[in-house]
Symmetry: C2
Subunit: 186 residues, 2 copies
């Protein structure tokens, strides 16, 4: 089974992080919930505390098949400057391994120089990203080569399903979508 890592930083958006982790784990894919800062227990944007599995420090691009960044302004501000996160993004990109981000977090892909031309994000975040093709709400999830982006809390389950589709294929996507009752995911 493939392995993905979800870096969690203070101020992460809880629906986004938890929907991704929950949906992807249901498929059997291994999900490492990794804290970026020193503490394993991290406070989200809406005051929900989650306990991470291990530190991000020490996780290599060789160990994982995808890195997925949840949004939230506070969390994204950390992900956009944290050296471990930024280095891992660049390593993944150099190996053409999957990179995904939702909501505000495509901004942190851009600071690492790994965001592709076509992308989406939470409305207004695109104003901080120049020279790229923002696709807005035309798609819940945008694929461009090995980089995948999505919009916000309301598309987080669909984004989780697309992570599964990318790593395990269409059949897993459809089976999970039905089980989760997310008939609105395209």
């Amino acid at each position: 089974m493939p392995t993905i890592v979800v870096p969690i930083a203070t101020g992460f958006e809880e629906i986004e992080a938890v929907s991704i982790i929950d949906v992807v784990r249901r498929s059997g894919i291994e999900v490492i919930v990794a804290h970026v800062e020193a503490e394993a227990t991290v406070r989200g944007a809406n005051g929900i505390h989650i306990v991470c599995d291990r530190p991000l420090e020490g996780i290599s691009s060789n160990d994982i098949d995808m890195i997925v960044l949840p949004g939230g302004w506070g969390g994204t501000d950390v992900l956009a400057v944290n050296e471990t996160v930024q280095r891992l993004l660049k390593e993944m990109d150099a190996q053409k391994k999957y990179i995904s981000a939702i909501c505000a977090a495509p901004y942190a892909l851009n600071t690492a120089g790994v965001l592709r031309d076509n992308f989406t994000c939470y409305p207004s975040v695109e104003e901080k990203i120049s020279g790229k093709n923002y696709l807005g709400d035309t798609q819940q999830v945008v694929y461009d080569a090995h980089v995948m982006t999505s919009r916000g809390p309301g598309t987080a389950i669909c984004f989780g399903l697309h992570i599964v589709k990318r790593l395990l294929g269409d059949e897993s996507f459809h089976t999970l979508k039905e089980g989760i009752l997310a008939d609105y995911c395209e």
Copy 2:
């Protein structure tokens, strides 16, 4: 501002619990995340650990405007037999205060004798609930008097929005729905 309580027990469904807490907190409503068992850190159905605010024990129906039960089979099995949960449900019902449950958790309302005639739940859970009118997927959220039920992970954000609608009204519902990008919520 109104106050709601979300009881959390081992095996709770993470998308459901977190979507409800996150969406409702965004509205300004106070949300108490309350652990039902002894430990404040509780493991969900998909291995995500969240840290609760305080124990459910000691919270009275006089302190809260709504009780909301997240689903997940493991969590529901606890909620359906836990004396504090079942007593609080009966107290809320006797005062016609709002009671809500999603996914498997309407079963725990039924064991307390507070489930109304019209309800929905995760498909197949209705087989454990006799003598009631299961509405299936005809509505994302079913209202019957002061009791509200919903279906599963894919309807959890919509359920959170309906909790806000019930306590704060239509305008808050629509503003939040737009901000969360959940255009599929009815």
